[in-house]
């Protein structure tokens, strides 16, 4: 795999992270299901997962950039596993609505596990790490730049959304209202 192809794959992975963050927003806004603290932590890990690909797009692929994503994916998998175990007893309806039979935290575990496998697979391709023959690295294209901007905007929107949900105090374990909007009314 060439450096250019690796950068394209990294841009695609950023679109995948953007899709996850957008889907979480869609569930929050359309189904009026506010994310719990563990759900927010999993979103944060998905956002952290994007930093490796952003660095790969900007500075070129390096193993250390993939390592950042691996760390975030392992932590995210641990967080989602804990939430699955919290609701594992028979009769426990789980937290939130199930999507295609799985709750969001189960989908999160599947997503983090898939990320770990994909990161391991792309790390097998050594050619992407060979020095570029061009004297200067080409600037990222529109496809990659859009992916980076999309992820950054979605993460920034989470800042606003979480501030509205939690206010300036600790987040509720089972949030049902936006604390900051409640105080305003």
């Amino acid at each position: 795999m060439t450096r250019a192809l690796a950068v394209t794959f990294n841009a695609l992975s950023l679109y995948a992270v953007a899709l996850v963050l957008a889907a979480a927003f869609a569930a929050q806004l359309l189904l009026h299901e506010l994310p719990c603290p563990l759900c927010l932590l999993q979103r944060i890990q998905f956002a952290l997962l994007a930093i490796g690909p952003i660095l790969n797009v900007r500075f070129g692929p390096r193993p250390s950039h993939y390592a950042l994503s691996l760390l975030a994916a392992v932590a995210g998998a641990a967080f989602s596993t804990r939430q699955i175990l919290l609701h594992i007893l028979p009769g426990d309806a789980g937290y939130g609505t199930a999507l295609l039979g799985y709750h969001y935290y189960t989908w999160a575990l599947i997503g983090f596990a898939a990320a770990i496998v994909l990161l391991a697979a792309i790390l097998l391709c050594d050619r992407q790490f060979e020095p570029d023959t061009a004297t200067t690295q080409a600037p990222p294209g529109a496809f990659a730049t859009s992916a980076v901007c999309l992820v950054i905007v979605l993460t920034a929107l989470n800042v606003v959304s979480t501030l509205l949900e939690c206010g300036f105090g600790p987040c509720a374990d089972n949030p049902t209202v936006y604390e900051l909007l409640k105080r305003g009314t």
Partner: protein, 52 residues
């Protein structure tokens, strides 16, 4: 509030990774990653209802 701060911190790391120095982005990532683990450990107080 801590989650808002974490999302804000991640946004800043992303901006540094895209616009700033690589070494600073790596250092900031480490700080935010450790902060997210610490937040998890702070909140993971519910006992898992498991028995073997």
């Amino acid at each position: 509030m801590e989650f808002t701060a974490l999302f804000l911190a991640v946004t800043i790391v992303m901006l540094v990774a895209w616009l700033g120095r690589r070494s600073l982005a790596l250092a900031l990532f480490a700080v935010v990653f450790l902060a997210s683990i610490a937040t998890y450990l702070h909140h993971a107080t519910d006992t898992l209802k498991l028995s073997f």
